[in-house]
């Protein structure tokens, strides 16, 4: 989140200066409509990520094609957890001074042989509880991880690609000019996905579920 209050004039000014006022009532209506169009909540913030299509963000797996695997479990084993240290690691690469919004959405159950007919009491599904964290200090280090809030198996967080620490917000992004290389301003943040299963009296076999990660600039 970057606050840049005085830049608000930049957005409004062209419409006021270039608008043709044909009558006082028309002018007032224009002003009212503009005020409605820009609610106070938006007026305190400029989302720099929206101002250039060149600000790309990518997400990739540290160990591609590797599941968040709980391995072999025994019927009625109970709670089985994968800890943060053993989590599935994803890398988010983007402009280091921009904020990203990250949403991690997991299935509530792992399903036996992809049979999704599960009502929570069936013997062919295992409840899954999602946990997630991120590290944005430039290194893949779980000791620096910040836990994400999780509600109904959806973890969400907003953070800069590179943590600012106690420093004030950085300058606006480098303008998009010919020869501009956004990679020079990129950094990698790390996303850790883990969680737990509660294995009850379920059928033996292979269980799986899906976790979707969405990343976008604020």
């Amino acid at each position: 989140m970057i606050n840049w209050i005085h830049r608000m004039n930049f957005l409004i000014k062209p419409f006021i200066l270039k608008g043709t006022v044909f009558s006082m009532s028309g002018f007032l209506l224009t002003a009212i409509l503009l005020l409605i169009g820009y609610s106070p909540a938006n007026s305190q913030e400029i989302n720099f990520g929206e101002f250039s299509s060149k600000y790309a963000v990518t997400i990739s797996e540290l160990n591609p094609a590797e599941d968040l695997s709980f391995g072999m479990l025994i019927q009625n084993e109970g709670l089985k957890s994968i800890e943060l240290l053993d989590s599935k690691v994803l890398m988010i690469e983007g402009v280091k001074y921009l904020d990203v919004i990250v949403d991690v959405t997991a299935d509530n159950y792992l399903f036996l042989d992809s049979d999704v007919a599960c009502n929570g009491t069936n013997s062919n599904c295992i409840p899954f509880t999602l946990e997630a964290a991120y590290a944005n200090r430039g290194t893949n280090n779980t000791n620096q991880a910040v836990l994400m809030q999780v509600a109904a198996n959806v973890a969400s967080a907003q953070f800069p690609i590179l943590a600012r620490g106690n420093l004030p917000p950085g300058p606006p992004p480098t303008p998009d000019y010919e020869g501009y290389n956004p990679a020079l301003y990129n950094e990698t943040a790390y996303l850790y996905i883990y969680g737990s299963l509660n294995v009850g009296n379920v059928d033996a076999g292979s269980y799986s579920g899906n976790i979707t990660i969405t990343v976008s600039y604020d």
Partner: protein, 168 residues
Amino acid sequence: MRIFSYSISLIIFLLATIPVIAQKGNGVNASINVSAKVTAAIELITVQSMQFGNAQPGQREIHVNPINSLNAGYMIAIGTPEAEFRLNYLPERELTQIEGNGSLTFVYEIAGNSQEDQATSEILEVDNRNIRFNNEGRYYIWVGGRVNLENAAPGNYEGDFTIEIDYI
């Protein structure tokens, strides 16, 4: 003129709001799989306990051959069909005299087979790692061993046997 003015106002309003929406959507998605393999819990069923019988006076040793003795203990392990497992056991256990302070050291010998056939079973070492349940999820175990009676006080002795089975 006024209608024209309102129209201009409406157009300006629309122009003012469209760009913000249009520039959204620079996000990316990824998907990962979460998986687990659940196996049936292993059960060990004791079908028959090992029988020593009565040692005769002057008898130096009792030996229960797990492959061919009818006195061998008999157990069935039940688990996931075709699953590999490892089997560990403590080869030496102390038998204590029920009425008295005497004790004997029993050295176990274990034989196993994926078929229910003691005669074709094979001796299992202390730590076996390449054993597999059969296609019905069963593995058959016979328990024998030997005990030295040379310094044993007369009486009844008892002890237990610990066997550990884990999926690999």
